[in-house]
Amino acid sequence: MSRIVVLLGPQGPHPDIAEVLAEHGIKGRVALVRAGYQERETDDAAMIASLGVPAVNLQLHRRGVDVFRDDPTFTAGYQARQQRLRHMQSFYRVRLDKIEDAARTVSVRYVDPQLLEQEDKVSVDQFRHLDADHIERCDALRTAFEEQWKVAERPLIAKYRAEVKQLMEDSDALVISGGHIASLVNRLALFDVFGVATDKPIFAWSAGAMVLTERIVLFHDFPPYGSDIAQVLDEGFGLAPGIVVLPDPRRKLNLEARIGIQRFARRMAPLTCVAMDHGDRIVFTRGEITRADATRLDKSGDIEPNWSGAPVRYSTASMKWARGEHP
């Protein structure tokens, strides 16, 4: 993997993407993915202006709409898969709550503190098992879908993949904006964007950054219904390995909740949890972090505001887990 992948925080009203593209020597046309904006995908004038270079919008959302309109048999199968994934997400979410409840109940027992510490590890392991199982089941469903429907051979999808490939070949880089994470993942996969982007540099922010990691985690510490628990949505495309990206921490993360941070960081280990605010940046070169300026969530419950990308030490058990050697 020789490509450069640059993850950014939310762009907000003062985007820094132009500066970042310039720093990496991108002067020519870039391919832009705005599928996360769904129906607003083509309202792209302001965003393209903010890039400082010419851009072509790959219009993955619109292409998806075309496919779903013109290929009703495939659409029915696709919608059934999505429905099943939604149900699975909902059941997984219910189980997370129950583990959380059990963890709290156990944690307030008046027993030997050492035993409570062991029990806390059990609780974290239960989260990890559930997360891993959820990812595995989602992956199995997607794989079965691909095999059943031979997505690449559907005529309109094949045509659009070829068009996207051509647009990518004529572009100097791929830029992926934020937006609706599920829409973004699905459209990027449907049109195999990373398969055709070969080793082009990739610049992405917010949801765009999340999809490039190994694991996509939905989170919000201040939901309108009071409280919620972070949930794994799915695997990402793995082009920015080793981290979990948490964009927009000012609005969505309670960085003062030490116990919550501690448990979340342990739950995700050996992946490093990184909060990315506006102006933050993580650069991957050949799959390794070569530069970072973001906030790391530590297993101690502390945060490291100026994390430079230095590797974090993990136990042998965590590393085994990362290699898929969990029971």
Partner: protein, 378 residues
């Protein structure tokens, strides 16, 4: 109990000028920490505070500050409380109820309106105010020729981003027109949908000409909703016609109608919002102290309590701590939980009124029918 401000008035010269200055320096009622002082000024034989806080005497006398025309009453008011009240002014042996002329905070309801006292820390939610930046849904009134009830009108809300090629969840609101008038439901829907907190939804506002009868476990009502109204809306709009895509809600007797409909058609509405439900029951005998209107409710609740079933998937229950129904609602929650349904229960320091129900809408609706806010990272 005499409030600090009243003690200051008593310590003053009590001249007209001194009293005028005392009034000019304050807003009313006077909230000081966990205490509230109601004040009225004028000539009367007696002044009473009338309120509906369960557990306190519903009528309490204001005392007169000697040598003035100032009347006062200080009570405990826990933080974040919201209390609706009126003042009764007695002249010539005749009492007249009125809103508190010194208090600009008013709440409207189908019976008129009340003055509202806000305890320390209570804030009117910002998300109920019309937001000029939020896209407005389209509202309409349409009619259905019902085999059950004849011709019936109902309100309709279509979200601003509506597109024919998408599927939408459906929210059916008992007493929907009152929710629009007294609980700001129109603004709440616009704001929550615009902020991605609530799914883009088709909303139906029903109103019954005979709600106390039709909502009290009347099988005709459930049949009308499930077999006529919802299918009719499903023919008009592209709806996600599954339990997860259907939410039924109501307050007071409307909450009874909601639970009763779910009980008669288990699994049809996958989401229920029950606000201050009139869930009267008995542990022995079949007559509740609330009177004959509640008889069918008591019979229904006693049956439900004897054999609770999972009639929906997700149920949000809210009730005010100052309502007489708090006991019934608190009693219901463990029963709902025992069925395996996903249940959230929220209490507020408020009474049986529309603004209490308004203030809980965001929490309830966003949990039952969440918008994409958890999926959007821009």
């Amino acid at each position: 109990m005499i409030g600090k401000a009243i003690k200051e008035l008593e310590a003053s010269a009590r001249s007209r000028e001194a009293v005028d200055a005392w009034f000019a320096a304050r807003t009313f009622p006077i909230v000081d920490g966990n205490f509230i002082t109601f004040v009225w000024r004028g000539e009367a034989e007696a002044v009473h505070l009338k309120h509906w806080v369960f557990g306190l005497p519903s009528s309490q006398s204001l005392a007169r500050v000697d040598k003035t025309d100032v009347w006062h009453l200080t009570l405990q008011l826990p933080a974040a409380s919201r209390v609706e009240y009126k003042l009764e002014i007695v002249r010539n042996g005749h009492g007249e109820w009125s809103q508190d002329p010194l208090n600009p905070n008013r709440a409207r309801d189908p019976f008129g309106g009340n003055s509202v006292a806000h305890g320390t820390g209570y804030e009117i939610p910002t998300w109920i105010q019309p937001d000029p930046g939020a896209a407005k849904g389209h509202r309409d009134e349409i009619w259905i020729d019902s085999k059950t009830f004849g011709r019936r009108g109902f309100g309709l809300y279509v979200p601003s981003r509506f597109q024919r090629n998408r599927q939408y969840p459906l929210l059916v609101v008992h007493d929907g027109h009152d929710y629009l008038r007294y609980a700001a439901l129109g603004s709440v829907l616009d704001n929550m949908i615009d902020r991605l907190e609530l799914a883009d939804a088709i909303v139906v506002f029903t109103s019954s000409p005979d709600r106390l009868r039709e909502y009290a476990d009347d099988e005709r009502h459930a049949k009308f909703l499930v077999e006529e109204l919802v299918p009719y809306i499903e023919r008009l709009f592209p709806l996600d016609a599954q339990p997860q895509g259907r939410c039924l809600m109501g307050a007071s007797f409307g909450a009874v109608a909601t639970l009763s409909t779910a009980q008669r058609y288990p699994g049809f509405f996958g989401r229920l919002l029950l606000q201050s439900g009139s869930f009267a029951f008995t542990d022995i005998g079949d007559r509740n102290h609330r009177g004959p209107l509640f008889d069918p409710v008591v019979a229904f609740m006693n049956r439900f309590r004897a054999d609770p079933k999972p009639v929906s998937e997700r149920v949000f229950v809210s009730c005010g701590m100052y309502e007489s129904l708090i006991y019934e609602n608190r009693s219901l929650v463990p029963l709902l939980l025992s069925t395996g349904m996903d249940v959230r229960y929220v209490e507020a320091r408020d009474g049986h009124n529309w603004e209490n129900w308004r203030d809980r809408l965001r929490e309830g609706l966003s949990w039952l029918m969440p918008g994409p806010f958890l999926h959007v990272y821009e």
